[in-house]
Each structure stands twice: as structure tokens, then as C-alpha cells.
Symmetry: D2
Subunit: 378 residues, 4 copies
């Protein structure tokens, strides 16, 4: 088994999820590559040392540039805040490293374009951690659509509802809360949450032609953690848009951090001529399926407990009826990446796929500002 040396940037929530995936994947999947936790880089020397120790990274750097320059590193995994993605990715591409980048790809469209140019020019393997594609129930939805079970698609609807920023007392900036700081995050829920919805939608239902959008910032000012000053909040707290897909279907999308009672309710539904699908992150191991070809009086939404050996990824885990959780999506992505590497064909979502998502994000933000429909075409 070949070793593949991973160099991780970041030590936050996502850095943990990725590290766990590298550590676990070999016990559950048959692979030709073995990921090695070679090095981790992050700004705070004490914290990065502690993280390296906890997860078993062989070494650690306080500057990501050292990691990128380290010849031992095969893959640079970017799990740091959004404002660092472009610079690190471009440097890593220039250094000839493979790159796995957290989503969203970048803070904005221009950054995203530069990143795609960089990896394409360098010809390096690249992938973006839109992990929800690899929830078994979501992958299964893709399979059912590709088999033509839904027929002509009429409707797509997705939402991602949270409620964790309703308090006026939350600062903007700082650990976890950098998502409220537009300078770091790029945008609010549009880039953070809708980007997930858009990635899945483009994958399942093809390109989006145009959108009309609306955004809102409910809490207009928050203390900035770095400056200590009360400053205008520049991210969007809520964002919704209508869309038309190239396949003729209509869509509604919505994300917010002000939907009391929902922690991370990402749901999507697709209605086709012959069937419909519904999925919900809060019970991620289930797929709801309506099949119009069932006998008329027996039609009903089926709640499929996606835990059988013939469901995507599930033969690698336990036995039917025993559900997996959130972090398994990252394990699946690593498995697919390593298998793709062995097969010479890296699976999506690539940087280029993520750029398509950025185009929609950009159109949404522009439409919300201009109050005019925006095209998402290149």
C-alpha cells in the first residue's frame, strides 16, 4: 500500500473532521493508498502543537507556507477560514501539491476563478469538501435520478435552516464566529449554507440558468472581536432565491441562521413526473421516496432507512438498521479520493465544480442587492 502524506492547514472543527477521516478510512475501506498524517499548520504555535499531538500528526508548523514548501507533503488539505483558501491553494498548486479544500471554495467569484486557474495550470488533483454529496442517502438519490426513476423534473426545493446567531450578544469574528465577519467569510449564509444546497442541486439536477434573490441582516451591528468595537455586520443572516434550471424545472432555495428550532436542517426535495425524493440532514440516514409506478391505491412516501449493504457506502460499515453519522461523509470522500487517485480519475466535486457553485452564489448576492434577476451562465 502506497503512503500518501497529508499536510493539513487549520485546527478547527473541519480540521478534526478531516483528520478523523484520514485515520479511520483504512479500517473500513480496501484502499491502494494509505493516508499519513504528516504535518499540520496553523497560526497559534501552542494550539497547533496540541492538535498535532492529539491527532498524531508527525510534525507541525506555525506557518502554512512551510507546510506547502515541505517536499514530503503530497496533499495540502485546507481546513482554515475562507479568507485563507485562495492564497494557500494557489501556492500549493504552484508547489505541485494535490489539494483538498474546504467549502466554500473562496470568499467570492474572482478568488474562485484564480484558484481554478491555478490548479488547472498546475494540473494537480483537486477536490472540495462538499461532504453532503457523500451521505449515503444523498448518493443514493443521485443514483435513483441517474437511473431515470423520476422522469422529467418539475421542481427542486432546498433549505438550510439554523438558529445559532439569533442572540444580539454574539460578537463577530473569533473562533467559530469568523463566519459572522464578512472580511473573513466572504458572505454569510449564502456562502456558508446555500453553497451546500447549490452544490447538491447542481450535482443532482444540472445547471441553474438564473435567479432572483433576497437577503437580510437582522442584527445590524455586533461587537467585532478583534477591534472590540461595535461595527456594522456585513454578512447576510438570511438568504432566499428562486431559480430556473436548464432542464426546465423551477426551484426555491433558502438559508438562514434565524429559524428557531432548527440546528442544521438541510433538506431537499425533487419532484419528477414519475417520482419524488426528499432528504433531511437531521435524520441523514433516511431517504423519502415516492414512486408513481406503485399501484394507485398503494402509493405513499417510503421512508428508506439507508443502512443496507446494497446502499451506497454502507457495506463498509455495520449491519442493516445501524445508522452512521455526520463524520462518515468525510471518510467516504477520502475513500473516493484515494480510489480515484489509484484509478487515475479524481471524482468530484473538483475546484471547477465548486466554481459553478460560486457563480450561483455570486448571482444570488448580486440579485439581492440589485433586485434584478441574474444569469448564472459563464
Amino acid at each position: 500500500m502506497k503512503k500518501l502524506n497529508i499536510g493539513l492547514v487549520g485546527y478547527g472543527f473541519m480540521a478534526r473532521a478531516h483528520s478523523n477521516a484520514y485515520l479511520s478510512v483504512g479500517q473500513f475501506f480496501e484502499l491502494k493508498y494509505q493516508p499519513v498524517l504528516k504535518a499540520v499548520a496553523a497560526r497559534d504555535p501552542a494550539k497547533v502543537k496540541q492538535f498535532a499531538h492529539k491527532w498524531g500528526y508527525e510534525s507541525h508548523y506555525a506557518d502554512w507556507k512551510q507546510l506547502v514548501e515541505d517536499p514530503a507533503i503530497d496533499v495540502v488539505d485546507i481546513a482554515s477560514p475562507n479568507d485563507t483558501h485562495a492564497e494557500i491553494a494557489i501556492a500549493a498548486a504552484q508547489a505541485g501539491k494535490m489539494i483538498l479544500c474546504e467549502k466554500p471554495l473562496a470568499r467570492n467569484l474572482p478568488e474562485a476563478k484564480q484558484m481554478v486557474e491555478a490548479v488547472e495550470r498546475a494540473g494537480v488533483a483537486n477536490m472540495v469538501w462538499y461532504n453532503y454529496r457523500r451521505v449515503p442517502a444523498v448518493t443514493f438519490a443521485k443514483q435513483l435520478i441517474d437511473e431515470g426513476r423520476l422522469g422529467q423534473i418539475f421542481h427542486y426545493r432546498a433549505k438550510f435552516l439554523q438558529d445559532w446567531t439569533i442572540s444580539k450578544d454574539l460578537p463577530q469574528g473569533g473562533q467559530a464566529l469568523w463566519r459572522l465577519d464578512a472580511a473573513v467569510a466572504g458572505s454569510g449564509v449564502t456562502g456558508d449554507l446555500l453553497a451546500h444546497c447549490i452544490d447538491t442541486a447542481l450535482w443532482l439536477n444540472g445547471p441553474i440558468q438564473k435567479v432572483t434573490a433576497m437577503t437580510e441582516t437582522f442584527i445590524k451591528e455586533r461587537t467585532h472581536q478583534q477591534t472590540g468595537k461595535v461595527s456594522p455586520v456585513k454578512i447576510d443572516d438570511a438568504s432566499a432565491f428562486l431559480a430556473r434550471f436548464q432542464n426546465g424545472s423551477l426551484a426555491t432555495f433558502e438559508a438562514t441562521r434565524y429559524a428557531r428550532g432548527h440546528k442544521a436542517l438541510y433538506t431537499f426535495e425533487i419532484n419528477g413526473e414519475n417520482g419524488s425524493l426528499f432528504w433531511d440532514l437531521h435524520d441523514l440516514h433516511r431517504l423519502q421516496f415516492f414512486d408513481y409506478r406503485d399501484a394507485g391505491n398503494l402509493r405513499g412516501w417510503r421512508s428508506i432507512h439507508v443502512t443496507d449493504a446494497d446502499h451506497p457506502y454502507m457495506k463498509h460499515w455495520w449491519v442493516p438498521g445501524l445508522q452512521i453519522g455526520y463524520e462518515h461523509t468525510f471518510v467516504h470522500q477520502v475513500a473516493d479520493f484515494l480510489n480515484g487517485l489509484a484509478a487515475g480519475k479524481i471524482p468530484g466535486p473538483s475546484f471547477s465544480d465548486a466554481l459553478a457553485t460560486e457563480r450561483v452564489v455570486d448571482a444570488v448576492l448580486k440579485s439581492a442587492q440589485s433586485e434584478v434577476w441574474q444569469n448564472c451562465d459563464v
Copy 2:
């Protein structure tokens, strides 16, 4: 259209449900008979007058015997407490009246046997108001079983959970609370709630061979409303039993009025070789169906919204998606009774069917006392 003169005994909850059924049925079903609210009888002259006025009964009696003797009455409908069923039914049979009797048929097995003998000797049409057979989803379950969709049956489980008598302050006896007085009710939840579960089970799954049971009275003493004295409570607050059906399947049954959080949660589930069914009174318009013959990776419990025109009874009501409620089951029973009368074949459940339920009720109560398995055979 022929007139059919109804004589109702009682003015409580069930008297309202029956009266509503007689009034509504003609607008929703095509019938050869038109029920006429001819007379109502009950002990309290003022209240029975008021009830007659409210529901449009042409006349009223303070003594049910007058009603039974009234030659204008075609059908005697017994909606009074359990301790009156046997005497009224036997008198009505002797008077040659058709009889519709509320459930349970009687307070105990000997009474029930006498009632069956009376109607059979008199040769009068008879039926018992086990109304849940005529919830469209339950009737549909029967249809699916009769079509052989489940194959060999392995398991049956039913429960009827309520929580309305947990307070120690409730008296026994009096309006609505006669259900806590063993002299009036016969038994507690076994005759009141389990009787429903048993009726459905015998209908759907055939005869029960034997049972082992357990009952409990949580509140040992309550003030008796008539005497004003604190007296021992002699009804069962909770009752559960295991059963073996003649078809080889195993069953669990349970009823209680001490299941906090459940108002009237009557549920049943049947597991067969090829499929399973589940139903729940709290959402009575849905039937859950699992079909093993679906493709393996697409199997899941289907939630069938039983509101289509090709579902039992539903073409008579509104349009797909618009649910009906509790009282419609009584309308369906009246419609079936009237259609059966026109066709010369009265549908079940007959007094004789209800006697089979009483045999199981009796076996359950005996087993709970003796702590020995009891046979339910004749």
C-alpha cells in the same frame, strides 16, 4: 326511498355520534333506505327532551321500554351505558326490532351469550358499533390482507393507550365516569379499550387460541359519585396480554388509562412474510405499509394517505388529500347497515362476532386473576 325509523336509547357521547351518522349518511351515500330519527329514550326527562330537540328526534321517552314497545320503531339503537345493553337488547329482540348496540356488547360473557341467543331466536338484524373497522385505513388493511399481500402472518401487536384517569381526584360513577364503576361498566380498559383491539384483530387475523394476561388498578380507592363514599375501585386501569392465534402468529395486546401523553392511541401492526401494516388512531387517515416485494434497496415503510377515491369509502367524501375524522366511521357503519338491509345481508360485526370478542375479554380477565394461560375456544 324507504324510511327506516330509528329509536335511540341514550343521550351521551355515543348517542351524538350515532345521531350525526343517521343525519349525514343520506347526503354522502346513495341508499335505498332513509333513516328517520323517530324517538330517543333516556332516564332524565329534561335532558332527553333537550337532546331530541337538538338532533331533531320526533319524540322522546323517559323509559326505554316505551321506545321498545313503540310499533313505529324499526331499529333500536343502544347507546346507553354497558349495564343496560343486555336487558334492552333482549327486550328489543323479543319485540322483533332490528338492533344496533354500542360496544362492548355486554358487561360480561354470560350477558353476551344471552343477547346472542335472543337475537338469533328472534331472527332480527343486529350489529355492534365496533366503529374502527370502518376507518378507511383499517378497512383498507383488511382488503390488503384478504388479497394475500402479507403472506403467512408471524406477529400481531395492538395497544390502546390513554391518560385521562391518572388523577386520584376523579370519582367513580356519574356522567362519562361510569366507565370507572365496575357495576356499570363490567370491566375497565379490558372491556372498554382492549375490546376494540380484539374486535379488529379477530377480523384481520382470525381466532385467538389462548392468552396469558396481567391487569392492574393503580388507584385503589375513589369516591363513588352516587354514594359519596370512598370505595374500592374494581375496574382494571391497565391490562396486557400475550396471545397465540389459530394461524400460528404471536401477539401482544395492551391497554391503559395511565400512559401519559396519549389521548386515544390505538395502534396495531401486523407482520407477515411478504409485508407489514401499521395503523394509528391519532392519525387515522394514514396506513403504513411495508412491501417486501419492492426492489431491495428501495424498500421502506410507505405512508399511505388514505384519501383517494379508490380507497374504501373515500369516493363519498371530498378530494384526495383532504382527511376525514372520527365520526365518519359511524356514517360508514350506517351506510353499510342500510346497504346490507337492502341487499338482504347484514354486514358484521354481528352480536355473534362481538361474542367472540367477549370470550377473549373473559379469558384475559380470568388469566389476570388466575395467573394461568386461558383458552378462548368456545
Copy 3:
């Protein structure tokens, strides 16, 4: 008890629902007025006669004008297709009749304005059958909002999904299918389904300021039943819009007849600072409630089975746990109308309330055509 003579126009689905309400209300509610089924009018003499007989109307007319001129009639109830509403209502107002009109009030905004002018000039009692306000769970939602339990509202989302017109073989026009004929219906799902969603939303969440919308007609041509010719379909099969409410909340609305698997899935959700509510017509007897003031680790969406005596309207029906159905909403509306009449204060929704809904419908249709945000202000 005073008699109130009802004159009904129409004999379709809604005419049945209204007639049933007039017949049932007196048995379940204590009222000062007794509705009398005085006359019914509709074009087809044979059918109107049959309808009158079935429901017990004392007389029938083949021309609604005769009914409006009949001095015995107190209330004109308009249950005929949309293209007749304005003419009948204006004539009835001029004749000094009280008016109950099916929704939507009219085919378009100009008609609706004339109707409001007519009833206001005549000073006659008026009400529109937006019946879903009187589902107990929906009325209860209104009560909870008015009690301030949700706090500041951030989000409103509603959808009404059906799937009954997906087949290309359905004609436009004719019994039931007049909803596909723009000349009769005015619009498609916007006026038919979204109008319900908008009425509820305005009631629960106040005025809408502006909208951006999108509509689609998936099947472009259908045979017209009257002409027999294949003609362009001019109604909207699907409609969605984003909205901003005056209270600062954001909303998404969607309706379609192309959502495979949904028969009449009208749902709404409201997210406030302190709580959220969700309701679903497919299980109309339940209200989902999230209360942020519950202890932190015990927070969860509560599924309230709205069947207790202290829930709106429910003390008039059965006992806790026994659900009611669709048609009860009409009974409630009649009860409220009659009680309002006795009290000298007719409850909403009035023609004027329904006009506010028409303004939003109009703005949605205009925005869909112009692709520009539209204001809904007067």
C-alpha cells in the same frame, strides 16, 4: 332561535361542503340563528333539482338571478366557478343580501375591487370562504402568535403542493377542470392555491410589502372541453415568490400541481425569536410548536394533537385524541358567522380582507411576467 334563509349558487364540490356545514352546525354549536336551506341555483335544471333534493333545499332555480331576487333569501352563498363571483356578488349586494363567497374572491384585482365597493356601499354582511383559517390547529397558531409566544418574526414559509394535473391528457374546462381554463379561473395555482397561503399569512403575519415571483405552465396546450380544440393553456401550473412582510420578516411561497406525491400538501412555518410553528394540511389536526423558553437540553418540536376541549372549536366535537377532518372548517365558519351576526360583528375574512389577498396575487402574477419586484401596497 331565528331562522336565516340561505340561497346557494352552485352544486359542485364547494356547494356540498357549504351545505353540509349549514346542516351540521346546529347539532354541535349553541347558536341564536338557525340556517335554513331555502334555495339553490345553478345552470343545469336537472342537476340542480337533484342537488336540492339530496341536501334538502326547499326550492331551486336554474338562474341565479331569480335566487338573488327572491325576497325570502337572507344570505347568498356563492359556490360557483370564479368567473361568476363578481356579477353575482354585486347583484346580491344591490339586493341587500348578506354574502358568503367562495375563494378566491374574483378572477382578478379589478373584479375584486368592484365587489368590495358593492358590499361596502350596500353595507351588507360579507365573508369569504378561506376555510383553512378555521382548522383548529391554524386558529390555535393565530392565538399563540397573538399571545406573543413567538416574539419578533424572522421567517414565514408556505407551500401548497398538488400533483393532479401532470397528465397531458387532461382537458381544460368542464366539471372540476374549469380550474385549468384561465377565462373561468382567472389564474392557475396562484389564485387557487397560493391565495389560501396568502390569506393565512396576512392573517398570521400582517401585510406583505413586496414580492418577486416566477410562474410556469408545464403543459403548454390542452384540448378545450367546450370547443374540442387543442388550445394554449393560459393558467399557471406552478408559482413561487419571495416576499418581504411589513414586520421585517422574509418569506418564501410556492404552489404547484406538479409535485408528484403530494395531494394537497398545504404547509406553513413561522420562525420567531422565541419560538416556531409548523402546520400541514395532510395531518391538519396537529400543530408543531418549538418553544425556546423550554429548558435548553429539553427543547424539541412538540407535536400537539389539537383535539382537546381547550383547543379552538374542539369542545364542540368529540373527546381528546379523536380527530376531525376537512369539512369541519366550514362548520366552524358558519358557526362564527352566525355568532357574529348575533353579536353584531361579522368576523373575517371579509371581502376587504380577501381584496388584500388579491393584491398580492396580482403582484405575484405581474412580477412573474415582468421579472421585476412588485409592491403590494394599496
Copy 4:
């Protein structure tokens, strides 16, 4: 951090789950002990070598006795079939090893008693892998009960439904199918599935006094994999019992492998005077809670998504809304064991706790055979 050397016996499903727990626990919990995968033992030399390699065990044995005798081993973890538990555990106790044993503790009560005697005589730390106690939602249920939120308990009901042995073609014996061979498994679903239900019940609701039970073997003969002969099946395919707890509550228990449509549906519900709880393994991250102390008209079952930092174990994982899965229960058990070791107090379930479960299992099997109530007292 002190090292703790693990010696695992077995390489099947449970051996994987345990190994994963040892590998993962250190990354998610702060611990004073670090488990080291020192050795694994199992009969097949090739397979045990492969397993050791996959999971990173330092060494491997083809005979568990060598592992037990290995002085480097601190903890013997028994993950082999039931017929090996007693012999290994007794030898390990005599060798002074700590012992973690898969459930059920033994094939029968006499074996279980000997095992408890052995560990108590040796004074070695011991624990049994009844992992479902450590599903966060289940641990949370225990916490709510211990806080007195339910008040006096009236009812307990549990079931564990599967459908994987319905086919007549399955052999008895062999990999995974040793559960059908009574000589290896001891019993069928009573020891395999009901044992889980009983362990949880005793933990949440205290001791069981007595039971009446019923078992069935639906497929009477199956080919035995070792002999190749069609032989009588001696395990129970289905088992159900009624029970009385010492606290006065009544219970129903049921397990089967013939409930079509259920993969691993372990559910329990507890009804108390002031509240009720419900949990379901198929959606293990949710706890349903009904609180009678909520305002009357607002009462409803709350669906608590047990993923917040203030829910048991969850602060160690991801963020609110992101669910964990089955294998995390083993990680939790290892964390608790290691923390208990550091604190000098090993948490349950101990061998002694598991013996209490065996007493109930034994009473159930005896009652099913004798058709007589059986006491479960010591």
C-alpha cells in the same frame, strides 16, 4: 498518559466495533489512559493476521489462551461467540486481567453465575458491552428519570424487531449465523435482542419481579452448516413477555427476527405520572419526551434532537444538529471505562449487572416452556 494494553478475542462484527472505539476515543475525549491495541486472538491464523494488520494490533494469536497468558495484556476484551465467553472470562479473571465482555454475558444462567464469581473472587475490573446504555439519547433518558421528571412509573414497554431470518434457506451455524445455533448462542432472540431491552430496562426502571412469557420457532428445521444435515432449530425466533417491576409498573417486552420491515427496531417507552419518554434505535439520535407540566393546551411529544453540547457525550463530537451513529456507543463505553479506571470506580454494566439480566432471560425461557409465571428474584 498511561498506556493500557488491550487483548481482543474475536475478529467479527463486534471485534471491529470495539477496535474502532479504542482507536478513536483518544481523539475525542480527554483521558488519563491510552488504549493500545496489543494483541488479537482468534482461531483462524490467516484471518486473525489480516485483522491484526487492518486494525493495527501489534501481535496476534491463534489461541486465546496465549493472549490471556500474555503478561503484557492489561485488559481482555471478549468479542467472540457466546459459547466462548465463560471459559475465556474465567481464565482471564484467574490471570488477573481486567475484562470487557460482549453481551449476552453467557449462554445461560449457570455460566453467568460462574463468571461473576470468577471476577469477584479475582477482584478484577469488569464490564459488559451493553452498548445501548451509551447512546446519548438513552443516557439522557436515564438522567431525566433520575431527576424525577416522570414521577411514579406506570408502564414500560420495549421491543426489538428484526426481519433477517425469515428465509427458510438460511443455514444455522457459521459466520454471523452462529446466532441460529443454540449450542453456540445459548438462546435465540431472548439472549440476543431481549437481553439488550432487559439491560436498559433494569437500568432505567429497576428490578423485575416476575414474568409470563411465550416463545416460538417459526422455521423448525434448518441445515446445520458444520454437519451439512437438516437439523431441528433449537433457538427461539420470537419471544415476548409480560412483567411486573418492583416499583409497581407493568411492562411488555417483545423481540423477533420475523417482523418484516424492521432491521433493528429497538424501541422503549416509559410512562410516568408526570411525563413519558420514547426512544428508537432506527433514529437513535432523537429522544421523544412528553412533559405533563407544560401548559395544558401546549402539551405534545417533543422530538429532541440529542446533539447539543449539554446532552450526554455530545460536546465531544461535532456541532448541534449533526448526528452520530451506532459505533459511537462503543467509543463512549471505552471513554467511561478509562475514566472510571482513573477515578477508581468502574461504571456499569458490570458482570454482576449482566447477571441480573441473565436471571430475567432465564425466567423468560422457563416461563415460555412451563407456561407459568416465573419470579426473577435471586
